[in-house]
């Protein structure tokens, strides 16, 4: 990637260069999205967050962190643009855009008028993946945006470039010198939805053919649905058709050491034993050098589910073990794999008849084949996912 010539930007713009691994990682993580528009939205937000957050932590506020867990964040990007960041005593929202002309900052109404979502500052972030940079070129407070123009047809609040504060340094100085400045305007409370009404809406707006669910009903109704985390989760799951794909093999082939995904998978090194017996990879069937692991909580106890590639290409081992030292998996626990159509196949489950060290299953898969995993009893926060190999 070319080095960005910083002299072509205005002196108060914050320009951060993008490297190829950031782009690759963001792209992979965006693949769980339900449709191409959501995927692209997810990708741009991932890129913006991946470069801005480390900069923020290094330069201004070591405590800064993404406001939402990655699963919630991905759910938001499924339907709304923007990423919330919590700093010491305020909340920022990044509004990424591909627009190159920096004409205006357009903030979706959700980030302004939903009480749980509203923030103090909104940052205009230009993402140009081809030129290899992310640029923060202005910002505004909630109050300023609320006084800006409101576009009814796409439900956004916007301010033009000359109404924005161009120098991001002004934000940090404001936090230091006038921390009590009122940044937020008053917000109207939203009506409550009856559960039956919510079910109805989830069915209707959950239809993936509805490309703009946020504009499908009145804002008050839509907002009330989003404010309830359970309803929101169900809406997004319905839109994705429940079967969200996790591209296991693709992730492992890329060898991303800091991979952390929406479903909580992280990359792990294979143990020496497994590594030692590894033969040279054949040309077209490379055996990954890493495995994946995710933490599960079952009845309040921590467990870990691992997916490990075996010596032979296409052979995989699934393993469930307990994370507390000395702990065993109680009798009655079951690890189970299903086809992507949720059908059983031979030797697809391992049941603990007595307390055991671990439960495990080994499978041979063709490239592109998919599986769904289940554990009984069902882990807390279990979300059905399709693992693609």
């Amino acid at each position: 990637m070319n080095t960005v010539n910083l002299s072509i930007f205005n002196p108060t713009d914050l320009v951060i260069e993008l490297d190829q691994s950031t782009i690759d990682r963001a792209w992979l993580q965006s693949q769980t999205a339900g449709n191409p528009a959501s995927r692209w939205q997810n990708y741009l937000n991932q890129v913006a967050l991946a470069v801005f957050l480390p900069w923020l932590q290094a330069e201004e506020d070591a405590t800064a962190k993404a406001q939402n867990q990655s699963a919630e964040q991905a759910a938001i990007w499924e339907v709304v643009n923007g990423t919330a960041i919590a700093i010491k005593d305020a909340k920022l929202v990044l509004i990424p855009s591909e627009a190159d002309d920096l004409g205006e900052l357009c903030v979706p109404q959700e980030w302004i008028d939903l009480p749980n979502w509203a923030a103090d500052y909104y940052l205009a972030v230009q993402v140009n993946v081809d030129a290899g940079y992310v640029r923060v070129w202005g910002y505004a407070t909630h109050q300023q945006l609320k006084q800006g123009s409101f576009n009814q047809s796409d439900r956004t609040y916007s301010l033009s470039d000359d109404q924005l504060i161009g120098d991001l340094n002004a934000l940090w100085v404001a936090r230091a010198l006038c921390p009590n400045e009122v940044t937020q305007a008053a917000i109207e409370p939203l009506p409550e939805l009856a559960p039956a009404q919510a079910d109805n809406l989830i069915e209707r707006l959950g239809n993936p053919a509805q490309l703009l669910p946020r504009l499908g009903v009145s804002f008050a109704t839509w907002g009330a649905l989003l404010q309830n985390p359970n309803w929101f989760r169900r809406l997004v799951a319905t839109r994705r058709g429940v079967l969200t794909k996790t591209p296991v093999l693709q992730w492992l082939k890329q060898g991303l050491s800091e991979l952390s995904t929406e479903f909580g998978w992280r990359q792990i090194e294979l143990s020496l034993n497994a590594e030692g017996s590894r033969g040279a990879a054949t040309v077209d069937a490379v055996v990954p050098a890493f495995g994946l692991a995710k933490k599960l909580a079952i009845a309040g106890q921590p467990y870990e589910l691992k997916i490990l590639p075996l010596e032979e290409a296409g052979a995989w081992r699934f393993e469930l073990c307990c994370l507390t030292p000395g702990c065993l998996i109680p009798a009655g626990f079951k690890l189970k794999l299903l086809t992507s159509e949720l059908e059983n196949f031979d030797d697809n489950e391992d049941l603990a008849t007595v307390a055991v060290q671990n439960l495990s299953l080994e499978v041979d898969l063709d490239p592109g084949e998919s599986l769904v995993w289940q554990v009984e009893p069902t882990p807390d926060d279990y979300q059905q996912e399709v693992l693609q190999f």
């Binding site: 002299s7 627009a99 002309d101 004409g103 081809d130 047809s153």
Partner: protein
């Protein structure tokens, strides 16, 4: 270029270009008349600065009147030098100094609106920064637009820019509304299917056009206020190509030459408004004089404070400011000079600027009893940029 000396000339003549070079000064007779008339009424010790502030004050009351033209005349050299300096930062720009000059001076309203008469140092230094930023952005954008295929270009625009381009192309609001919806539908349906190389998106396939048309026909009921007629895939393709053409031609519009008629030229209105302006001139004169007095004290204070603050910075920070503002080096050149990465230069510059902004804000709070808000910090930040530019310029 021979600098203009006489106040009448400074406020009534415009640069003539001889291809890409300065080719002399052209007089606008109506501005000359207006300036002469004003000079018989008022006299000033510091004519340059006085008349700039005077016309700015009048411009605020009558944004489209003669005052704007006087100020455009006044800022000719500044704009010319900003164009000359900025264009050298771009390799292989197909645009000439004259192109950049024309585009920048046409956007003079941005300078006039942004200038803070109460606190700003002087209109020229503010204009110099604003013109340079404007030209830099335009050149960069133009470059990006030229690289992009038609279909990628459509993803690179803000809605505001799209609407402006369509208005420039002379379309009416009903059509613009439909086109903007069509454009938004395209952006939702036709997204890149890979993480980079998004500047060369090909024309959408027929089934993609159908999907765009479906979305359009679904959304038109709620999103359109005027004509809610259905559209076909063929309609949409045609409309979006019109959008592309409008955008490509709107960034560097063909400007009317200065010898062309200006709005209101030669009509009776001008004479009437001239009379009005002169009647008001005494009042404006009073305001401007009072402001100048206050400002001059304020400027001395700020100047002293910032000069002292800079002297307390670390030597390498002082050096950095000097290389950037006084020598106008590019960041890559500074990096070479300081034996570091370009990336570090921009970080350090931003840090030093923040330090100065913090100091100046605190100082304004305690000595001028200004209660700080985000908006005021925004003003202080541009004031600081202006001061840095003029401070290092004069050194």
């Amino acid at each position: 270029m021979l600098p203009r000396q006489d106040p009448v000339e400074i406020f009534s003549t415009f640069i003539k270009f001889d291809y890409d070079r300065f080719g002399g000064w052209a007089t606008d007779t109506r501005l000359r008349r207006s300036m002469r008339q004003s000079l018989t009424k008022l006299a000033a010790d510091n004519p340059d600065n006085f008349w700039a502030l005077y016309w700015h004050q009048i411009w605020q009351q009558q944004p489209t009147g003669l005052a704007r033209e006087h100020l455009a005349a006044y800022l000719q050299e500044v704009c010319f030098w900003s164009a000359t300096k900025t264009i050298t930062g771009f390799s292989s720009s197909q645009y000439t100094v004259s192109d950049c000059f024309q585009v920048a001076i046409a956007r003079i309203d941005k300078v006039l609106q942004g200038f803070d008469r109460e606190r700003g140092f002087n209109l020229k230094s503010y204009a110099s920064i604003t013109f340079a930023n404007l030209i830099r952005e335009l050149l960069r954008q133009k470059k990006e637009i030229d690289i992009c295929s038609d279909w990628s270009l459509l993803r690179k625009l803000s809605q505001k820019r799209m609407i402006e381009a369509l208005l420039d192309a002379g379309l009416d609001s009903e059509i613009i509304e439909s086109y903007v919806l069509a454009w938004n539908c395209l952006k939702i349906v036709y997204v890149p299917d890979r993480p980079s190389s998004t500047r060369k998106l090909p024309k959408p396939e027929p089934e993609t056009w159908l999907a765009i048309a479906n979305l359009y026909n679904q959304e038109r009921h709620t999103q359109l206020k005027q004509s809610k007629e259905a559209a076909t895939a063929e309609n949409l393709e045609k409309w979006l190509l019109i959008c592309v053409r409008a955008v490509r031609s709107s960034l560097f519009p063909k400007l009317n030459s200065l010898n062309d008629k200006k709005p209101g030229y030669d009509t009776g209105e001008i004479v009437d408004s001239l009379v009005g302006e002169v009647d008001e001139s005494l009042l404006v004169d009073m305001i401007v004089r009072e402001e100048m007095e206050q400002r001059s004290q304020q400027h001395t204070d700020i100047n002293q404070f910032l000069t002292a603050t800079i002297q307390q910075l670390k030597p390498e920070e002082q050096k950095l400011l000097e290389l950037y503002y006084a020598l106008d080096l590019k960041q890559a050149e500074i990096a070479q000079e300081l034996n570091t990465k370009q990336y570090n230069v921009s970080r350090k510059l931003s840090k030093v600027r923040k330090e100065l902004l913090m100091a100046l804000a605190q100082w304004s709070q305690s000595t001028m009893h200004i209660s700080l808000t985000s908006d005021i910090l925004d003003n202080i930040s541009s004031l600081l940029e202006e001061w840095l530019a003029s401070h290092y310029d004069s050194n």
